[in-house]
Symmetry: C3
Subunit: 347 residues, 3 copies
């Protein structure tokens, strides 16, 4: 069972072509995505209401899509506008249409009650399309429930163990983060990790313009269903970073990690690592992207193996540890929303 009344990511903008049909399963539902003649993204149920043929092997006709089984034609709001061989179109001949917003190069979709879809609630990822930042968009498919990925992202002690040669440092294992919880709306966590006078991770070392010790930070916000935004970087030690001063030599990144459930045991994962320096250095864009890809494969190996063990030994208890503070808060926020949607009782 999934939380429905929230904005999920359906795709990077570039995944949906200017013309033609794209499809993807989201929250166990088959979804059709395409652009109308104005370039606006349309999201429809990928299932014809006639006899359930999938529409993605149909045909786009202007703003509409035609089912290529028996020819029913649907407009962007899901209403059937043509039934071949039949004058009358009965009312209610329609398929589900989902509210969609394209913003910050992401296609956001609302799978719940359409009346509650408010685009103002969409989390801001300005660094995807700001002229001051540069990134290359990434996507990974996961053989694991999205909550296992959320757990991973909310506990950065794993950096020390899973990513010793890429994202992690020894200090990651023991540093105590500051965790703030905000229960306004769907809720939000802010997790702040400062490593003062510490070594940089290999990923930062590879691009930094200074050497030696650094004051490093990972300041991230996480909100349900599975949206992470992070401000991370390294500045030469003692140049005032903890007090809010970011000197020009500082390495600064904005990071995105977003998941949407595909099924109960598979997930979509969109990510990027934006920087605010050397914007036109395409080789650097690629280098940073590949660095993240390598590190994220380290996570995927662990998390998919984790999903397998959980399905093999499903009913064993877990032993909580101090480092769980972040992920416990995240799970708590997710459960709260699910309960609220289901009359107070989460499954």
């Amino acid at each position: 069972m999934f939380i429905r009344n929230c904005w999920y990511v359906a795709a990077w903008d570039t995944e949906i072509p200017a013309e033609g049909l794209f499809h993807r399963t989201l929250l166990n539902e088959p979804v059709l995505l395409y652009r109308d003649t104005q370039g606006r993204v349309v999201a429809l149920e990928n299932r014809c209401c006639h006899r359930s043929a999938p529409l993605h092997i149909g045909r786009q006709e202007g703003d509409c899509v035609r089912c290529l089984y028996h020819g029913l034609k649907f407009n962007p709001s899901g209403a059937c506008v043509e039934i071949p061989g039949q004058e009358q179109i009965p009312p209610k001949t329609c398929i589900k249409s989902y509210p969609v917003v394209e913003r910050n190069r992401l296609v956001w979709i609302w799978m719940g009650d359409p009346a509650r879809a408010n685009p103002d609630d969409i989390v801001d990822y300005f660094w995807h399309d700001s002229p001051e930042w540069r990134m290359k968009p990434g996507y990974i498919h996961y053989q694991a429930n999205y909550k296992l990925i959320v757990d991973n992202l909310l506990d950065f002690t794993h950096l020390a163990w899973v990513h010793p040669t890429t994202l992690g440092t020894d200090s990651a294992a023991s540093l105590k983060p500051v965790i703030e919880r905000d229960t306004t709306g769907t809720g939000k966590l802010t997790i702040t990790r400062w490593y003062l006078n510490d070594d940089m991770s290999n990923l930062h070392k590879g691009v930094a313009k200074f050497e030696g010790k650094a004051d490093r930070w990972q300041i991230y916000q996480w909100s349900p269903p599975a949206l992470l935004r992070m401000d991370t970087g390294s500045a030469p030690t003692g140049t005032g970073a903890p007090e809010g001063r970011r000197v020009p030599e500082a390495v600064q990144f904005r990071h995105t990690s977003i998941q949407t459930p595909e099924t109960e045991t598979t997930s979509h994962y969109w990510f990027c690592q934006a920087r605010n320096f050397d914007l036109d250095d395409e080789a650097l864009t690629e280098k940073i992207y590949q660095g993240v890809v390598v590190a994220f494969e380290e996570d995927r190996t662990m998390i998919e193996a984790h999903e397998k063990i959980l399905s093999q030994v499903p009913d064993r208890p877990m032993v909580p540890i101090a480092a769980d503070a972040g992920l416990n808060q995240g799970r708590w926020l997710l459960d709260r929303l699910l309960k609220a949607e289901n009359g107070g009782t989460a499954p």
Copy 2:
């Protein structure tokens, strides 16, 4: 659950070798097929009654088959005739044997109550072995329930959408067929479609000996469980085809499409397209066969995708349209038989 008291096709005659064992799952049951020393087809349960080893990795011995696990030997009626290391063969040491009839190059099998098996009930497909007709037998395996294939065959509006460049014409989408229902015995539908002064399909154009407009027909009979026979062709417009006159230039075909369930989600499909002209032109036989194969792959793509969507979103209602008349009648005949076999209540 499947209808059992009816003749199903088990194979083309050529699928079962002169010597040796052939096996196939039909209606979820493992079936062994082979020819006795007279060349007659034998159909037995493909499961030894000793400890359930499959017989197809056994050995044919004359008219009999021997299980190559511990050596039990069975005759064509399924009776055990030898137990190695044991004098006495207990009564009831036997496996199921199915009534089988070889006719019109098809091997017909009866999976229900053997007492009710009457070979006179087998539908006639004379064009498979008549000297006046020529065809090449075809077989396709489907990842879909057989009823989805039946639906497809009973609604020829799909020709316009699924097969625009092969079997279909624009007119196929809107033409209203004449549908006659006969409820004698297991029931029968006769569906007649006349396209007067119309374009030929590409498949007919490719072999016709005249050009220009045609009077075209598709006259087909369908009977449960999944037996389609069709008389189809094109004659030069105004030469009297609708009144029953078929001039020598007319292109005439007899078409066969037959399905047997393998499991609830997979099916066997036998087909052919016979003609009554240029009988000895083997290249033409192959050309017509390949034309049908291409068109049938178009169906398979759609129907297998259809099966997937139905399994992903199983409980959504369907919206009936006018073009459903044929398939509704077909489903009604199938449900009627299933109910009759199960004491009035179909599942």
Copy 3:
């Protein structure tokens, strides 16, 4: 459901490296196997008690293993000895540890109540490491429940049918074995088959130092859960083998066939065929090994097909025959143990 209070084989000694982590599913449980700094095998649950990550993608640290998700460290008895970022280790922070004994080149594991694990109960396979015998260890993975393999091993009539050109002879089909049952402890069967003045199997012919008729024997002991040890050989006819005299020309083998359930439908299978002649002839070792591999593939083809038919047609009765005596006794001993472990009622 599996019998738990008995010694199972987990691996050949060589399967577990001197350093590093090996893992395998046994009785549906994920098991981690490695050697401590003294070379002793450690067997732990392959599932971290923190959040269930698998330990085999962790890291060995001396005698311990560290989970590379969040860094918990466990000692060979399964106790957690370190939680990064946390001083206190709560009692009961531990994972299951299994009693393990390395003997006769096999790694034996006890998956039941540890208090009942007595190494004296381990069946003796002295020919694996005796200087007077030589063998090459073999392993096969099976897509079948282990009891189907036991059935196969306890009914040697199958030699005549499944292995006519390798292990079998015509006489195997009808020879009546002497079967003795011992219900002490977990129970034991002793099955004795003498073929007097008979042909050798092809496998024996290929290595024998004499020609012509032989007195042949297969004397095997089988004990639950799935442990077969066999004394087999051929001596020139009339040289006294049945009376216990083994002349130097006699071909003598000791055979091992051991299974451990992986899941309900898959199994591990360890085997070897040791000889007491020409010990240093490595080509002969390989030749005998390959001969067994070929024969065992014949079994696997049959048994995996058997498993498939049983899953397709699960509820059909079996018809017992005289040759079942051995396998019936084996099944009876298995059921008896399972019932005893489950308060008198086996499932």
